[in-house]
Amino acid sequence: MGGLVLLSLVLVTISFREDGSGPLASVQNGAAAVLRPFQVAADRVAEPFRDAYGWSNSLLDARSDAARLEKENELLRQQVAERQLALRENVTLRKLLAYRNGPRFPEGYAGLAAAVISRPAGAYAQAIVIAAGREDGVRTDDPVVTQDGLVGKVSRVSSRTSRVTLLTDDASAASALDVETQAFGIVRSGDGARAPLRLDRVPKEARVAIDDTIVTSGWSSPRLSSLYPRGIRIGRVTSVGRTDTDLYTQVQVTPFADLSSLEAVLVLIPVDRKDLAR
């Protein structure tokens, strides 16, 4: 055994010193050439097995890759959806901001922007929940609008959220007037999806035409004032009907604000109350 170890050490020394060019290297090259056919034969025999092993390995890799990519894809889809939502929210909030800073915004009010965090679960629940509450200065009966028009009023307030009853709810009503003819009436919920609102109590002699714009009339007396300030856009007249038996003109109105897909709204908070809160 000692002799073999010694021989190995001698071989190592000579081979290391020769560095590929010398008698031992020549012998090694010759021996390698002799052994080459065996190596080639073994390689050919092993090739199908190696291929099979590589194939099964790649299959396993492909499976794990597929699972990883699926997760990645899901994550990216979620990110895209979140970004699209953020983009849409950004557009909505910009519109609200433009409205709040524009000439149409009612005087004497401050606009508090709030995101809609919950929508009605059924057709009969004409209400939304917004992410602003008592701590933000919201009180019951505060009007709620968007840049397009009137939405409704706050019907219930908690510390951080509020419930807003939409104009299309049966319990809602707002005194309104026709901008073109100054005809007065009360806007209430309509008969269905084709005409979500109606302008009620319009005398027969008053003139109301299709495509007229209806806005809140807003009134105030020394002791009382209407819930909604004057001049907030409500909707457009879509049909006008009169019959001999009816006491009032039948006026159907389509709201300007899309009440079915609200994302953010403005709560109108009277400036004097805001000053008091400070």
């Binding site: 021989l7 071989l11 290391f16 190596q39 390689d43």
Partner: protein, 171 residues
């Protein structure tokens, strides 16, 4: 047939397979070393001197075929064959799990020895790689030894019927 003639093809085939098929292969962080396992099993069955000789020859074949520095693999396998042979002649004799145990232990020492030898020769070696693969390779060697020891046992141990008594006792 002499033991050397039966060992030689075994070592030769193992060296060829090691270089051409298993060289550079990895199975779950383990690098299979069929030649080392074959040397260990041959040494356990045939003894320390045949084991050392088989290790030397097998290592030399690998060094020749890979055109590496001659003697580096053979010195490691010579020592591995001798140690396995001594173990088989002493404490490992007749033990059922001698082959996997010896393969496991020698695989670790042989791996570390090879790294040390290449380091001494100034060749670039990554000790981290050797350490990471040492234990999985040793486990794989132990598993391989279970099969290889049966094959070497069948080849190296002569059929019982052919064994001839070398001495007789007169009663």
């Amino acid at each position: 047939m002499s033991a050397a003639l039966r060992i030689a093809p075994l070592v030769f085939v193992a060296a060829i397979v090691q270089v051409t098929v298993l060289g550079g292969a990895r199975v779950l962080w383990a690098e299979p070393d069929l030649l080392l396992v074959t040397i260990v099993c041959v040494a356990l069955a045939a003894g320390s001197i045949p084991g050392a000789a088989a290790g030397f020859a097998g290592g030399l074949l690998v060094d020749v075929m890979t055109l590496g520095t001659l003697g580096t693999t053979s010195i490691v396998l010579t020592l591995a064959g001798y140690w396995a042979g001594r173990y088989g002649e002493t404490t490992g004799r007749g033990r059922r799990y001698a082959a996997p145990l010896a393969a496991f232990a020698i695989s670790i020492f042989a791996g570390l020895g090879a790294v040390a030898l290449h380091f001494l020769l100034g060749e670039p070696v990554a000790a981290r790689d050797a350490l990471v693969t040492a234990v999985p390779s040793a486990i794989l060697a132990a598993v391989l030894a279970l099969g290889v020891s049966r094959i070497t046992g069948l080849i190296l141990e002569p059929p019982r019927g052919l064994e001839r008594p070398r001495q007789v006792e007169l009663v």
